[in-house]
């Protein structure tokens, strides 16, 4: 902890090399200084004098001499670099370093003063009390269960790994999902999975993602596009984002497809999720055909998926809308369990699930400009809807009973 411009409680490695000679004025000012700062006075080397330079101007000299910056510095001069004095020089250059690097030093100090990056008293406690270890520990604790790298759309690999067992439990034990037709999903390249949607919470997209990740030979990651109503739900939205969900909008979908990702869309959207029990497995209008336009524009294959079981997992017998709008969600579902058992009621019932992946639609006969042909887009969207409806009916016929 021996940087001239204050010590940094977050420093992981002891900056042995950073012995920065104090400005000569410091010696003069030392006597006048009112307080000794705990951190700096202790090492007895400098700086306890000027309160301003010792404690309230933190972090100005950043790069310990031992650290080479792993970036190419071509025309940019990082101030910290030039202000660092090699360790051996310390004794000899005491008091004279300031003249060797006058601009860097002064520029830095002036900036600090101008900027008033100097927290007022109660806020700089951290620099005053030598509790660096505590803050370091706090950072470690805060980073538990999350990684310091997420992909461009916000998927956190560590969070994904943490939730994987939960999804696997739901997949193999709770819903006993039977998946068929995964061979229709290409091992590489972009593709659009189009599925039917049901359930108060998007368990169906989670199960589809997990099925592909678990049982597809290429173990591909599916990025499900999540409708706003779910994506902006408090707590659940960020969680879905951390484990791979992406907000459903054409820009995001196109960007994902251009990166050769496999995406899952549920064109029914909230209309599909808002189906009541009596409308189960009756596919709703397929949005405005945005997914067809997307497939036409990008040339990505369009793969229909029928998911059976989600309706029984969270059967919605009624929905309350008058109160929900003010909370920011489209409706509050009423299931046999939900409002009555509290949050526990949101857990799905153990219905028997089946997922059937169908043969890809051949959209290659249309050129990309066909995306502007609204009638064609509408017709194709309806064709896809009809195919998925057929698949759903067929799979329902195959399933022995909803609790199987």
């Amino acid at each position: 902890m021996s940087k001239i411009l204050g010590d940094n409680p977050f420093d992981d490695d002891e900056p042995t090399a950073v012995k920065k000679a104090p400005a000569s004025e410091d010696d003069a000012a030392a006597d006048a200084s009112p307080d000794g700062d705990a951190g700096d006075a202790a090492d007895g080397f400098d700086g306890d004098g000027d309160e301003w330079s010792a404690s309230s101007v933190p972090d100005a000299v950043r790069w310990p001499a031992g650290h080479d910056m792993p970036i190419d510095v071509d025309d940019d001069v990082f101030l910290g670099e030039e202000a660092v004095v090699p360790p051996g020089e310390y004794g000899r250059t005491h008091g004279s370093t300031i003249h060797e690097f006058p601009e860097a030093e002064m520029r830095e100090l002036e900036r600090r003063v101008d900027a008033q990056r100097t927290p007022a008293f109660p806020l700089d406690m951290r620099n005053r009390v030598g509790m660096g270890f505590l803050w370091k520990r706090w950072r470690q604790l805060a980073m538990l269960g999350r990684s310091d790298v997420v992909d461009d759309f916000g998927r956190d690999p560590r969070a994904t790994a943490r939730w994987e067992p939960v999804l696997d439990f739901l997949y193999s034990k709770w819903f006993r999902v039977e998946t068929a037709g995964l061979e229709h999903i290409p091992a590489t390249g972009p593709a659009l999975l189009v599925g039917n949607h049901a359930g108060t919470l998007p368990y169906d997209s989670a199960m589809l993602v997990h099925a592909v990740r678990r049982d597809h030979p290429a173990r591909r990651d599916v990025r499900p596009l999540v409708e706003d109503a779910v994506f902006h739900l408090p707590w659940l939205g960020p969680l879905i984002n951390r484990i791979g969900g992406v907000r459903a909008c054409p820009e995001n979908a196109e960007r994902l497809l251009s990166r050769d990702e496999l995406i899952a869309v549920f064109p029914e959207g909230t209309k599909g999720m808002g189906k009541l029990w009596r409308d189960r497995y009756r596919l709703q209008r397929f949005g405005r055909g945005g997914f067809v336009k997307l497939a036409l524009r990008t040339g990505a294959p369009l793969i229909p998926v029928a998911i059976v079981g989600a309706e029984e997992a969270t059967p919605m017998v009624a929905k309350v809308t008058w109160f929900a709008k003010s909370v920011g969600i489209p409706w509050i579902p009423v299931t046999p369990t939900f409002p009555w058992l509290g949050p526990v009621g949101l857990l799905p019932l153990p219905a028997k699930w089946m997922i059937q992946v169908g043969e890809p639609f051949d959209l290659g006969v249309h050129d990309p400009d066909a995306a502007n042909d609204r009638l064609l887009v509408g017709r194709l969207a309806e064709a896809v809807r009809a195919r998925i409806q057929d698949m759903v009916d067929e799979v329902r016929g195959r399933r022995k009973s909803p609790i199987g």
Binding site: R146, S147, V149, G154, E251, R255
Partner: protein
Amino acid sequence: MSPGGSTDGRVVAITGACTFLGTELIRRLEEDRRYRRILALDVRQPPSIAASPSGSGNGAPQGAGGKTQFVKIDLTQPTIDAEIATLLDREQVDTVVHGAFLSHPTHATEWAHELEDVGTMHVLNACASSQPRRLVMVSTTLVYGAYPQNPNFLTEDAELRGHRDSRFVNDKVRAEKQAARFAREHPDTEVAVLRFAPILGPTVSNMFTRFFSRPVVPTMMGHDPLMQFVHEQDAAWALKLAVDSTATGPFNIVGKGVLPYTTVLAMMGRVPVPMPYLVARQLAKALWAMQVFDSSPGLLDFLLYLCVGDGARARDLLGFAPRLGIKRTIQDFIGVAPDDGATDVARAQG
């Protein structure tokens, strides 16, 4: 690319020379032989050229170089446009960099409006009269606004929605709209607008560095948007590139990678205080009204929804590719040495 050449070198006028980007740009232009003269326009003398007359020691050339001249210009004065126009004509300025924008909300909203919105009008009026070859304007990605409908990456053609009750952002939106109109009406002048993501770094001071310098930071309960930063050195480099280049139009100047807000706080070691949005908003309003809190309450929306720019256009047309990822930027901001050589982006992709 030819230094010298037939012309004597370019002449640049920089408004807001005392801002971080202004001083950094002056420092870079001083070292570039293609630039003959730099006019630093501001209400007070930038510290870097203040040292020039009485150079202490051996009088090192950089920073205090002989190219820069300070001209006192107050953009809030009513007839300042004529004054700037005269100056541009007299000095044969070919590039105007308009960077006189606040990096932090202020309670003097009327004055801020005069400086940012009306000040931009003055600068553009002067440019319309003296027709410089190039105009570079500084802006921020905040002009897109944080909205639930935002795609994960906002391209430059996204609508500038600003924010419903943040004058800090809306003044910048208005300045940008003026610049866009100016670009349409004056095709002879190349107009480039740089929308900087929140700039973080050890020396820069703006609303973000102040916000993240606090040990205790609010979070919006149940919300965790992705955040994006650009390192201060990358930002300054991008501004220099934009002055060098001939590319026109808006450019998002953003760093590599994104991170969730709470992860940013965890990496910085800040203590998050989750608050319901409505409570936080009322609290922020009250603290703002009492002038205790120096971030306007409208900016809380940026903790709710994401507002992340796509840097592809700057990469393709300006040749700007950020050299520091978000993790290194944060580490540099809080003063932690990098833990290993691998860049975070390389690991994210690999």
